[in-house]
Structures are given as structure tokens and as C-alpha cells.
């Protein structure tokens, strides 16, 4: 079996002899594991990512051109998996009423002086949030869709943050 090249193995797998996939797994698991481990340091998640890499490769093997080498393709999948992993771990701020109402980074953005940086529409919405209205209620009052309200709040938040940063 040692004489079988990656190309032969891929051809056999494409022909339905899926037991040959274990040779690919055995050949590249350690390499991929070390590569991912060096970037994550978390054993469980490394295991999951390595599994995902091999499953993705198996799903893509029908379209894989066997004349091309397997290793770069596998590492491209690793890169994509890592990218997805980092993206999933990126801290995100949910766009909801609480964002405006709570202290943000030690600065009380309810402070009225910050509202001067906002335009009329933004100011109106922020004041209503301050009064305890939900986005839905504000949308109904101003006859605007809820997503527009959320966008305006998001833009307003950015302006307030910039104003805070410049004041600091």
C-alpha cells in the first residue's frame, strides 16, 4: 500500500473505494493537527477543526482534480476553517436597546452633551430609547421600519464613540 500515491488514492476514492480515505487521514492528520494546534492551543477545538477539514475534503473530493497535489488543497481548507473559527470567536455587539442604555466602556453615553453630535433624526430616536421605548415602538411612532431604526442607532453609536474618543 505504501507505493500508492495521493493521486492513485484519490482516483480510487472517486471510484467508490472509500476505505482508501483512511490513508489520506492517516497521512495528513498529524501534520494538520500540529498546524492548527500551534494557532489555537485548545485541544478540543483543534480536534473539531481537524475533523471538519477532513470532512470538507471528503465532500469536495468528487470535484477535486487528482492531477493536483492533495496537501496544498488540504491546507487551503485548513485556512478557511481557521478563518471561520476566528470569525465565530470574534466578539460581536448585539444591536438592541441595552447598548444605548448601559455604560459603554466606562463612558455614560446617555450624557446629553454627546447627543449634540447627532443629527435631528438620531437625536429623536436616542431620546425615545432613553424614555424607555423599544425599537418597534419607535418605528411605529416615527413611521419607519425597525431595521431603519436599528441602522440609525448604529450610526449614532459610532458618532458618539468617536466623540468620546476625541474628548478623551
Amino acid at each position: 500500500m505504501a507505493e500508492l500515491s495521493d493521486k492513485d488514492i484519490v482516483v480510487k476514492i472517486k471510484n467508490g473505494e472509500i476505505d482508501y480515505y483512511s490513508y489520506i487521514v492517516k497521512k495528513y492528520t498529524a501534520l494538520i493537527y500540529r498546524y492548527i494546534e500551534r494557532r489555537l492551543f485548545i485541544k478540543d477545538e483543534t480536534d473539531d477543526l481537524v475533523q471538519n477539514v477532513f470532512i470538507s475534503f471528503y465532500k469536495a473530493i468528487e470535484k477535486f482534480d487528482e492531477t493536483k497535489p492533495v496537501k496544498p488543497y488540504l491546507f487551503q481548507i485548513v485556512q478557511n476553517e481557521l478563518k471561520m473559527y476566528y470569525r465565530s470567536k470574534k466578539p460581536t455587539i448585539q444591536l438592541n436597546e441595552d447598548i444605548y442604555l448601559v455604560h459603554d466602556g466606562g463612558i455614560n453615553i446617555i450624557d446629553d452633551s454627546y447627543l449634540n453630535h447627532l443629527n435631528k433624526d438620531e437625536k429623536k430616536i436616542f431620546q425615545r430609547i432613553d424614555e424607555g421605548y423599544s425599537y418597534e415602538e419607535i418605528g411605529k411612532q416615527l413611521k419607519k421600519p425597525i431595521n431603519t431604526i436599528k441602522s440609525i442607532v448604529r450610526r449614532g453609536r459610532i458618532k458618539i464613540k468617536l466623540a468620546c474618543a476625541s474628548k478623551k
Binding site: V25, T29, Y33
Partner: protein
């Protein structure tokens, strides 16, 4: 590392088992459905032709070869004209799909056979 490799291979086999069995079941059930509906439509067509006594057009086949030669083309044309066209088109469509399905099945037969052998070896040996 061995544990992880086994885990990956098991996952791949589980995925492939689901995929292959699903594929076989869907192909076989589609083929059976097509055969049954073709047979049903064929029987309806035959029933209609019987009611119209269209098969009588071929009574001349019991006659001499000379008469057969003279009438074969005309009678066949008449018979075709008496066929219920919408049903005939549906039947032809179903048969074409069936042929295409059988062709795909025959083309993938080796692949599916190898997969089944591999799956059998993994799960039962």
C-alpha cells in the same frame, strides 16, 4: 492521534452510509414509481384503444403477405392517429425519464457497488 483518526474515519463512514443509502432508496423508489405510472398509463391507453376497437385495424395481419404489404402503412398511420395523444406523450416522457435514470444508475453502478463493499467491510467486519 490514533483516536482522532478513528473518529474522523467513523464520521466519514457514517456520512457516506447515510448518503449512499439515501441515494439508493431515492433512485429505486423513483424507478419503481416511474415503472408503475408508465404501466398504469399504458393500460389506460390500451383500454381506450380497445373501446375504440382500434386494434381491429391490425386484423389484416392474418391475411396474405400481399395484402399486408399494401395496407400496413395506411393502417399503421390510422392507428397512430387514433392514439390518445396527451396520454401517449406523457407515457413517452415517463419512459424517457426512466431510460435516463437507468442509464445514470448503470453508469454509477460500479461506484455504488464499491461504496457498498467498503461500507459493509467497515460496519460488519
Amino acid at each position: 492521534m490514533k483516536k482522532l483518526e478513528d473518529k474522523i474515519i467513523k464520521k466519514i463512514y457514517r456520512m457516506e452510509t447515510e448518503k449512499t443509502i439515501g441515494q439508493i432508496i431515492s433512485e429505486v423508489s423513483l424507478t419503481i414509481l416511474l415503472i408503475l405510472s408508465s404501466l398504469f398509463i399504458f393500460s389506460v391507453i390500451v383500454e381506450i384503444l380497445n373501446e375504440q376497437a382500434s386494434f381491429d385495424l391490425f386484423d389484416f395481419l392474418r391475411d396474405d403477405f400481399e395484402i399486408i404489404r399494401e395496407n400496413f402503412f395506411n393502417n399503421s398511420l390510422l392507428f397512430v392517429q387514433e392514439l390518445p395523444l396527451p396520454l401517449t406523450y406523457i407515457l413517452i416522457g415517463l419512459l424517457l425519464i426512466l431510460v435516463w435514470l437507468l442509464y445514470v444508475f448503470a453508469k454509477n453502478f460500479n461506484n455504488i457497488k464499491n461504496k457498498l463493499i467498503s461500507l459493509y467491510k467497515f460496519w460488519f467486519k
